[in-house]
């Protein structure tokens, strides 16, 4: 591989490349929607992870698309991460993956073997998800981008929207936070030893087993934590009608993330998340580094589940047995003045 063919990612890859939620909502609000269709169970209005369309009483289609620039140097790993991230939206809705289409942007001048490695990584993850890679679309572009359009199926009666939690529900997070900070630290050569490996292992892990395990429990709402950060997705989960209390010290954090935040390796997307979601959050005694981790944009992050309180510990234990760093991080309450309260022990 010639040196200039190495994929280089200096503008911030993965979900740090997402447009800010604030900017986006102004545009989306103005789009013509057409007539309302009662079979569109989840669409624009709910700001959920995927669109869901009911075909019959038992079957609904789950559709999602996700792609972004690389956040790691290795093309095969990048393919795995981008695919795991795209597939995750189907799992967040409680669905099963059926088919996937590749989406590719690739420079004509670059070594095609790199593209081959990206696609190999992606195809392996689609296969692991039990889906079929059924086609794709590629265009020549100045930079590399890859992702998938994924179609899944869900029983519409078992659909887990992101904003249907109930007061009293416990909140479970299935992956540790901090991949945005760690990838950023890695890019400037300041990541702690081993931090990047742990982040890559987390990002390439499918949310498949988390979704399958949680299906046997009374889960009222679910979302996957991606570019808008733990707090941003939690804010969407509250849907303007609920509040929650989070124990900051219970939130799982990847090794090296705290150090990256202490070293001020802040991302632009993290600061946009703080600007957008900060007004809804009241921090009590939470160290600044931990605040940054809670606002950190995640690529291929875990599921955030709202589960009936009496089942929460069982679900957590079963997720942990499956090798996931799942933790109960807080609970949903009736609507309070402060939507999200994050506390931290003295």
């Amino acid at each position: 591989m010639a040196k200039e063919d190495k994929i280089v990612f200096c503008t911030g890859g993965g979900c740090t490349a997402k447009l800010g939620a604030g900017v986006l909502s102004h545009i989306l609000e103005k789009l013509p929607r057409g007539e309302k269709d009662p079979d569109l169970l989840v669409g624009y209005d709910s700001r959920d992870d995927a669109a869901v369309y009911r075909i019959t009483d038992d079957i609904a289609l789950v559709q999602t698309v996700d792609f972004f620039p690389p956040m790691v140097d290795d093309p095969y790993t990048f393919g795995q991460i981008a695919a795991a991230n795209a597939l995750s939206d189907v799992y967040a809705m409680g669905g099963e993956v059926k088919t996937a289409l590749n989406l590719v942007c690739f420079p004509e001048s670059m070594d095609l073997n790199i593209l081959g490695e990206i696609l190999r990584g992606g195809a392996e993850k689609v296969a692991e998800a039990g889906g079929i890679l059924a086609g794709g679309h590629s265009i020549a572009d100045t930079g590399v981008k890859y992702g998938l359009s994924v179609t899944g199926l869900v029983d519409p009666r078992r659909l887990t929207a992101n904003d249907t939690g109930k007061p009293g529900d416990k909140l479970i997070l299935t992956k540790a936070l901090g991949v945005g900070l760690i990838c950023t630290a890695n890019r400037v050569g300041e990541a702690a030893p081993g931090a990047m490996d742990a982040a890559v292992a987390s990002m390439t892990t499918l949310n498949k087993s988390a979704a399958e395990i949680s299906r046997s429990y009374d889960v009222h709402a679910a979302t996957d934590v991606t570019g808008f950060s733990f707090l941003g997705h939690l804010h969407e989960m509250m849907g303007g009608r609920l509040s929650c209390r989070i124990d900051g010290s219970a939130v799982p954090v990847l090794p090296g993330a705290w150090q990256a935040a202490d070293d001020c390796l802040y991302t632009a997307a993290g600061q946009r998340n703080r600007n957008h979601t900060g007004p809804f959050v009241q921090f009590e005694n939470v160290p600044f580094a931990m605040q940054e981790i809670l606002f950190d944009p995640q690529t291929s992050g875990g599921l955030l589940l709202a589960v009936a309180p009496e089942e929460a510990e069982h679900l957590r234990d079963e997720l942990q047995k499956a090798g996931l760093p799942a933790q109960i991080v807080g609970e949903i309450t009736e609507k309070q003045d402060a939507e999200i309260v994050v506390s931290y022990p003295e």
Partner: protein
């Protein structure tokens, strides 16, 4: 003074370069960092707050911002000897709940408020905090006629906080040009704990 041109650099490079320059100072001094976007300014400001440096930001032109870091001798000494450097700030909180001062003609109200902010910069005793909400949120955003005065106050150590819900409501989230974003809990707390609340 050391100068760093970080225009064209994506985060976190402006912060990385600023930290490196501050380390090169080897003690007290100033570092000027140029960046091309507001988010980079906010990240540089966060770094200054965490590391205990004084910072002041200003917009020089479209896509050109300057952040000036003033690095003191090790901060602990300043804190331990308040008598040597009396704090010019009182425990007064100024609340700007509108982009106008008083009831009456709109144009007059805006002129009066601008004069009020300028007058604040000329006082011996400065407020501890300025809170801005509702239409007051426009005052800390790009295009406000009193940005320079507010930045001067911030450089003197006055905490400037704008209501985030209000910025969202008016579509100004990406336009904030001075101070930080806050929420109603903090606004209520600051007002309750203030020695005086001044609402022009």
């Amino acid at each position: 003074m050391l100068k760093v041109d970080a225009r064209g650099d994506a985060c976190p490079l402006p912060v990385v370069k600023a930290k490196k320059a501050i380390a090169e100072l080897n003690g007290a001094g100033e570092v000027e960092v140029l960046v091309d976007n507001e988010i980079a300014v906010q990240n540089l400001t966060k770094m200054a707050q965490q590391k205990g440096y004084r910072s002041a930001a200003e917009k020089l032109a479209e896509r050109e911002y300057r952040v000036l870091f003033t690095v003191g001798e090790p901060a602990a000494e300043e804190e331990e000897a308040p008598a040597c450097a009396p704090d010019a700030r009182t425990d007064t909180v100024v609340v700007l709940a509108s982009d106008k001062m008083g009831e009456g003609a709109e144009e007059l109200g805006k002129t009066l408020l601008k004069a009020f902010i300028f007058s604040l910069t000329q006082q011996d005793k400065l407020p501890k905090t300025i809170l801005l909400y509702n239409s007051g949120a426009h005052l800390t955003c790009e295009g406000s006629p009193m940005l320079d005065d507010l930045k001067a106050l911030e450089a003197e150590g006055v905490e400037i906080l704008t209501c985030g819900t209000c910025l969202n409501f008016y579509g100004l989230t990406e336009k904030l040009a001075v101070g930080g974003v806050t929420n109603m809990y903090v606004i209520a707390e600051k007002m309750l704990n203030a020695g005086n609340v001044v609402k022009p």
